[in-house]
């Protein structure tokens, strides 16, 4: 026979179990552990420190976003596709496609930088010229 104490204890344990699962769902169990990768077509280059260092990083991010947007992927997938043994997809686009996408990305980055005046325009052009040979070399290695 189940006693009154037993019924009460079971009700408490049942309530605790339901409360725990409800709490976990409320805390975001559904999406937990999945990387929240931004859409590169709408993402902004994000915050970075000031000075040339910060500008270079913002430029690189905008360029990656632009290229990833062209290739219908994320900037993380794009970067990792060039890293051997990263566990993600290897380069899966043709050399011409990546070439086109990276040029579009660099253009977008230069355009974004140009928004900050004449200095930005000059810096954007300079960075495009600096980054392009590195990209060429990276593509050469990846192939």
């Amino acid at each position: 026979m189940t006693t009154r104490t037993g019924r009460l204890a079971l009700a408490l344990l049942g309530g605790a179990a339901v409360a725990l699962i409800a709490l976990e769902l409320a805390l975001g169990a559904g999406s937990f552990g999945q990387p929240k990768l931004a859409d590169p077509c709408t993402a902004s280059a994000g915050r970075s420190g000031g000075g040339l260092d910060g500008t270079v990083q913002r430029f690189a991010r905008a360029a990656l976003d632009g290229a990833a947007c062209q290739l219908h992927t994320t900037r993380e997938e794009l970067v990792l596709s060039f890293v051997p043994g990263a566990g993600t997809a290897k380069v899966r686009w043709s050399r011409q496609t990546i070439d086109r996408a990276l040029r579009a990305g660099l253009q977008r980055a230069a355009h974004e930088l140009a928004g900050s005046g004449i200095a930005g325009n000059v810096l954007g052009f300079g960075l495009s010229q600096l980054v392009a040979p590195s990209v060429e070399s990276l593509l050469g290695q990846a192939k």
Binding site: M1, T2, T3, T5, G6, A9, L10, L13, G14, A16, A17, V18, L20, I21, E24, L25, L27, G28, A29, F32, G33, Q34, P35, K36, L37, G46, R47, S48, G49, D53, V56, Q57, R61, L64, T74, R75, E76, E77, V79, L80, G85, A86, G87, T88
Partner: protein
């Protein structure tokens, strides 16, 4: 020492050996990373240290069923204890993984004979079958729940070999206690078909316990990087809750206790599957539910599967086989699911880590050595372990730089979150097994069983 006291000590010693034989199903789990690096093997290879014991135990238990009624149970128990002792000594001094697996098989064979024979021995020592069965059930429930925590403490304090070295004197003491005891089972075929629902429910519940006894340990130690002793501290909640539930079980009818136990175990495993963060607190609460469920359902179902009477030893052997078959089948079922999800989880971890790095507000002069350090950390990490992603940040002064520390913690967190999610489907599968145990429990009532 008077005769009564001597019998009580003997009962305790034999019960300890029974608890150790049940604990052995999961006692090695917290030592798996140590074994993995000691023997430079694969995950599948090291998993055989657990599977071999349970598989041989289940096989030997079923092989004993047709002949157990014609055997001298005292001799069977003593032979089992000798094998268990020899297997423990051999396992403690193993020089290679194949040797360890062979000695684990010897331990499994000894454990099957010991567990089957000990029911009659404990009945003789405790003075009645009812009391002997109560001791056997309590030792089995508590031993199974205590296994991982005990193994973790021994591994951290000494070495993985200590797990087996500790078992040898327990078996030896029980052998001395059993040496003077003469018990003969009354030949009988046992409870037959009417015990089947309880045994099916036990097989499903022990399959479900793979989630609490194995997966939670792997999560805590391998994915979250807890030390064996810290993992053992979290897992201690399992035997504590099981023990507390044993008392609560007296306030409930057998059927209510079994149903509530299966539901609470399923809920605890579902809570582990639905973790929304890397939180030892949430794991403790979920494991407390699992332990309570185990403490409510396992004793009452075992008493249904093995009732005092002529078929005590026969029924005991059947139920030992049933619960270990459940355990082995669940391991076989869960392993490929976890393996596939961990591969996917590792990919998500890399993507999450890349996002953190790309979004990071770190000067380029620090970012470049960190990225190179991360690449080296991945290359240096032993197979099957999570690389030390914090080290490259620490080398760049994360201890004194709040910005760097924030990026480090975000990256380590992203990796742990993704790996934690990889355990979700395997744990959900275990929760499903616990829920399925409700079917034979509910059906048993219709057959006038509960």
């Amino acid at each position: 020492m008077n005769e009564d006291r001597r019998r009580r000590v003997k009962t305790l010693v034999v019960a300890a050996a029974v608890a150790v034989a049940f604990a052995d199903s999961s006692i090695v789990v917290l030592a798996l990373p140590d074994l993995y690096s000691r023997f430079s093997t694969s995950i599948v290879g090291v998993s055989w240290v657990i599977t071999s014991y349970n598989l041989v135990l289940a096989g030997c238990a079923f092989a004993l069923i047709p002949v157990i009624g014609r055997m001298d149970v005292g001799t069977l128990t003593r032979a089992g204890l000798i094998l268990f002792f020899a297997g423990s000594v051999g396992a403690a001094s193993s020089w290679s993984l194949p040797a360890l697996i062979v000695f684990r098989c010897v331990q499994g064979a000894g454990a099957a004979m010991l567990l089957a024979g000990s029911l009659a021995l404990l009945s003789a020592l405790a003075g009645s079958q009812k009391r002997g069965l109560a001791v056997w059930v309590a030792a089995g429930t508590f031993g199974a729940a205590l296994g991982p925590a005990l193994g973790g403490i021994l591994t951290q304090l000494f070495d993985w070999r200590a797990i087996f070295a500790f078992q040898a004197p327990v078996a030896l003491a029980a052998l001395i206690a059993a040496a003077e005891s003469h018990v003969h089972p009354r030949a009988d075929s046992g409870g037959g078909g009417k015990r089947t629902p309880a045994n099916v429910a036990l097989a499903l519940l022990f399959g479900a316990l793979v989630g609490a006894l194995f997966l939670s340990v792997l999560l805590l130690v391998t994915a979250w990087g807890l030390s064996p002793i810290a993992g053992a501290a979290v897992l201690t909640v399992l035997p504590v809750a099981a023990l507390a539930a044993h008392g609560l079980g007296r306030e409930l009818s057998a059927r209510t206790s079994a149903i509530a136990g299966a539901i609470l175990l399923a809920a605890g495993l579902a809570a582990l599957a639905l973790l929304p963060a890397v939180s030892a607190g949430l794991v403790v609460v979920a494991l407390a539910l699992c332990g309570t469920g185990m403490g409510l359902a396992v004793p009452v179902l075992t008493r249904r599967a093995v009732a005092p009477g002529d078929g005590l030893v026969h029924d005991g052997t059947v139920t030992i086989g049933a619960r270990h078959v459940g355990l082995v089948l669940a391991l076989v079922l869960v392993a490929p699911v976890l393996s596939s999800d961990l591969t996917h989880g590792a990919r998500n971890a890399v993507l999450g880590g890349a996002k953190v790095l790309l979004d990071a507000n770190i000067p380029v002069r620090q970012e470049v050595p960190i990225v190179l350090g991360l690449r080296n950390a991945v290359g240096r990490a032993p197979r099957g372990t999570v690389p030390n992603f914090a080290a490259p940040f620490n080398a760049q002064g994360a201890a004194t730089n709040a910005g760097l520390r924030e990026v480090r913690d975000s990256l380590v967190g992203a990796v742990r979150d993704a790996l934690t999610r990889s355990f979700r489907r395997a744990l959900a599968l275990c929760a499903l097994l616990a829920a399925l145990a409700l079917i034979p429990i509910l059906l048993a009532r219709r057959r006038g069983f509960a």
